[in-house]
C-alpha cells in the first residue's frame, strides 16, 4: 500500500499510475474531475447527447412471456466456450465468461463444467444414493426421501483444480480471462448435510475417509477426509434456487465448500465409508503435479486464495483515457476474503480495493477500484488475502515453489493444477489489454 511517487502531488491518488481513492469519485470527485482531469473527462462529456425519440419497442406491445425466461437476444455472446462441441469420446470443458459478468453469482447456464464422458441423462425417480462401508447399517436414499430432510443453503464457489493452468506456461499465453480462469464459478447451493445421512447409517469410530462415486459413465470416484465431510459437506440438489442442471450433477452432487472441483462428485450415487483413501485415478494420477524439487503433490484439497481482474481484461479494449472501474473476483477455500490490493503499475505500488458485501466464506467476493487511465502504458494486477492470513503469491513466488513449463503448452492443456498466483494485464496506449508476466 505504498504511495506512488506522484502520490504526494495528488491528494486523490491511492497508488501509482492513476489508482484513485473511492472518495475521488463521490462528491469531491466532481471537483477533481474538473480540476485535474480536464483533458480526459472533458472529452467524455463534450459531445451533446442526441435528441430523444420513441423507439419501436415503445410503440407496440411486446412478445409473449415464456414459461422459462432466457437472456435478451442481444446477449448471445455471453456464453461458455466449449472445447469438445461434437462430444468426441474424451472429456469436455465449458468455461465461464467472467469478463462479461458482474456480481458474484454465476448464472446456472454459465457455470463452468468439466465432463469426463458426456452428460448422463438421469431419471431422478430412479436415482439412488447408497451409503455403505464402515457403517452400522448400509442405507439407500432416493430423491423423494432426501426432500423430507432439512436442507442447508450456502453460497460458494466451485473451482476446477486445473483452473488457471495456462499460467504454468513459461511465457504468457495470449487468451482472455474466460480461457485462463473460466473453470471457476459461484452459486447458491442447497442440500442435505452429508453428516446427517452418515449419522443415520452409523459411522464406525475407526473410519477416516469416504469414497464418493458418481452415476456417470466413468463412475468417477474421489476420496474425501471424513473430518471435512462431517464439517460442511452437502448432498446438493439445488443451485441458485432450481434443481442443479445436468452439467452440474443432476439430480444431486457432493458439495465440498472450498475443495478442488473434481472432489465435488456429480451424479452422486454412492458413499463408501473407509479407513483409507481409495487412491483413485483422479486423486493419484490426474490432480497431482511434479514439483521442481523432484517430488509430486498429493491430496491438494484446498483451492487457495486467489483473485483476478475481470474488467479491464483481454478483449475488453479501453476506448479512451478517463476514469474506469477496475473490477474482479477474489475467493479462498480457506474462508472469507480479508482484503484485495490493486496495482496499475505492475506491482510497484498498491491500493486497497473496495469489497462488495456480502463477503461470504469460500465464495466469490467482488472487488472494485477506481482508476484514471492517462492513456499511457499500465500493468493491472490484483492480490488477495484471506481471513486465515494467506496471501495470494506473486507469480515469481509461485513458480519458485511449483515450477513452470519449459515451452508454452496449449491454452486448453493442464500442465499443472492449483495455480493461484497474481495475473497481470498490460494496457497498451491504444487501449488493448494483453496477458503479461510482471
Amino acid at each position: 500500500m505504498s504511495k506512488s511517487p506522484q502520490g504526494a502531488s495528488s491528494i486523490h491518488a491511492a497508488a501509482g499510475n492513476g489508482l484513485l481513492h473511492r472518495r475521488a469519485l463521490l462528491g469531491r470527485g466532481v471537483m477533481v474531475a474538473g480540476a485535474m482531469g480536464a483533458g480526459a473527462t472533458g472529452a467524455l462529456t463534450a459531445a451533446a447527447a442526441e435528441p430523444l425519440t420513441e423507439a419501436p419497442w415503445s410503440l407496440a406491445p411486446g412478445e409473449v412471456t415464456p414459461p422459462y425466461g432466457h437472456p435478451s437476444r442481444f446477449e448471445k455472446a455471453v456464453v461458455r466456450t466449449v472445447d469438445n462441441p461434437n462430444n468426441e469420446p474424451s472429456g469436455s470443458r465449458a468455461r465461464t465468461p467472467h469478463h462479461l459478468l458482474k456480481g458474484t453469482i454465476t448464472p446456472n447456464g454459465l457455470h463452468f463444467t468439466i465432463m469426463h464422458a458426456g452428460i448422463p441423462d438421469i431419471d431422478p425417480a430412479q436415482h439412488k444414493l447408497l451409503i455403505h462401508g464402515m457403517v452400522k447399517q448400509p442405507l439407500v436414499f432416493d430423491l423423494e426421501a432426501l426432500s423430507r430432510y432439512r436442507m442447508v443453503t450456502r453460497v460458494g464457489f466451485v473451482e476446477c483444480g486445473g483452473n488457471s493452468a495456462p499460467l504454468f506456461s513459461n511465457e504468457p499465453i495470449q487468451a482472455d480471462v474466460q480461457a485462463l480462469h473460466g473453470l471457476a464459478s459461484c452459486a447458491e447451493w442447497a442440500g442435505v448435510p452429508l453428516a446427517t445421512l452418515l449419522d443415520e447409517a452409523g459411522v464406525d469410530v475407526s473410519a477416516k475417509w469416504i469414497i464418493a462415486e458418481g452415476a456417470d459413465a466413468p463412475h468417477l470416484s474421489r476420496s474425501v477426509p471424513l473430518a471435512k465431510v462431517m464439517d460442511d459437506a452437502l448432498v446438493a440438489m439445488y443451485q441458485n434456487g432450481e434443481r442443479i442442471q445436468p452439467g452440474q450433477g443432476y439430480p444431486m452432487r457432493l458439495y465440498l465448500p472450498g475443495y478442488e472441483g473434481n472432489m465435488n462428485v456429480k451424479y452422486l450415487r454412492r458413499i463408501q465409508v473407509t479407513d483409507q483413501p481409495g487412491m483413485t485415478y483422479f486423486e493419484s494420477k490426474i490432480y497431482t503435479d511434479p514439483l521442481p524439487n523432484g517430488k509430486d503433490t498429493q491430496f491438494y484439497f484446498v483451492q487457495e486464495v486467489k483473485s483476478f481482474i475481470t474488467s479491464p481484461s483481454p478483449g475488453l479494449k479501453l476506448k479512451e483515457p478517463g476514469v474506469y472501474e477496475i473490477s474482479g473476483i477474489a475467493y479462498s477455500g480457506n474462508g472469507r476474503i480479508a482484503k484485495v490490493l490493486v496495482s496499475a503499475d505492475g506491482g510497484k505500488s498498491w491500493a486497497e480495493a473496495a469489497l462488495d458485501a456480502p463477503r461470504l466464506p469460500k465464495a466469490f467476493t467482488r472487488f472494485n477500484m477506481a482508476w484514471r487511465w492517462d492513456g499511457g502504458p499500465a500493468v493491472l494486477q490484483s492480490r488477495a488475502w484471506d481471513e486465515a492470513g494467506n496471501a495470494q503469491p506473486t507469480r515469481e513466488q509461485f513458480v519458485t515453489k511449483r515450477g513452470q513449463t519449459s515451452k508454452p503448452p496449449s491454452v486448453l492443456g493442464f500442465p499443472g493444477h492449483h495455480f493461484n498466483a497474481i495475473t497481470s494485464w498490460a494496457v497498451a496506449p491504444n487501449g488493448e489489454v494483453r496477458h503479461v508476466y510482471a
Binding site: H219, R270, G278, T288, P290, Y300, F301, Q404
Partner: protein, 175 residues
C-alpha cells in the same frame, strides 16, 4: 455428588440419544443387505481390499487390449486420442509425461479404474477376469512385473510402483 452427575448424564444420554435424533430427522434411508449392494461395491482400496476372485496374465491381456483398447490408446499403448499407457519418459514434469511406470503410486488403481470406466464407450462391460488380464498386460508391458506373472487379489497390491514414496501430502492437517 459424583453418582448424581453420572446418573444425570445417563438420563441426558437417554433423552438426546437415538430417540431424540430420530425425532429430528425423518430417517428415511432404506436398509440394504451386502448381497443387494454388491453390484455397486466396486471400490478397490490400495491394500487390495475388495479385489474380486479371479486372475489374469499378460498374454491374455494383450488379446483383449488389441480388441478393446488399442483403437484409442494405440496398438502399442503409445497413445492415440486417449493417453499413452505403455512407456514414456523416465520422469514426469510440467511438460507432461506422467506414466504408469514413472508416476502411478498404486497398481490397484489400474484395476479399479479400468473396471469402473473402461472401455470409454462401454464401461462396466469387462469381466473381472478380463480386467485382471489387462492389468497384467499393462504392468508387464511397463516392466513392472514379469511377462508370466499372474495378477490376482494377492499379487496385485504387492506390485511395487516405483514412484509410490515420492508423493507429498499437501494438507496433512486436513486428513
Amino acid at each position: 455428588m459424583r453418582d448424581l452427575k453420572v446418573a444425570a448424564c445417563i438420563v441426558l444420554v437417554l433423552a438426546i440419544g437415538p430417540g431424540a435424533a430420530a425425532a429430528e430427522t425423518p430417517r428415511l434411508g432404506k436398509p440394504i443387505s451386502q448381497p443387494d449392494l454388491a453390484e455397486w461395491d466396486i471400490n478397490i482400496l490400495p491394500d487390495g481390499t475388495n479385489l474380486p476372485p479371479g486372475s489374469g496374465k499378460a498374454a491374455d491381456g494383450a488379446k483383449i487390449y488389441a480388441e478393446k483398447c488399442a483403437f484409442c490408446h494405440g496398438d502399442k499403448g503409445q497413445g492415440g486420442h486417449a493417453v499413452r499407457l505403455i512407456g514414456g519418459p523416465p520422469k514426469a514434469s510440467l511438460d507432461g509425461g506422467k506414466t504408469m511406470a514413472n508416476y502411478w503410486p498404486y497398481a490397484t488403481t489400474l484395476f479399479d479404474f479400468i473396471r469402473r470406466a473402461m472401455p470409454f464407450t462401454q464401461p462396466r462391460s469387462l469381466t473381472d477376469q478380463e480386467v485382471y488380464s489387462l492389468v497384467a498386460y499393462l504392468l508387464a508391458a511397463n516392466k513392472l512385473i514379469g511377462e508370466n506373472d499372474e495378477i490376482n487379489a494377492t499379487t496385485l497390491p504387492k506390485v511395487r510402483m516405483p514412484n509410490r514414496d515420492n508423493f507429498v501430502v499437501q494438507f496433512p492437517d486436513r486428513m
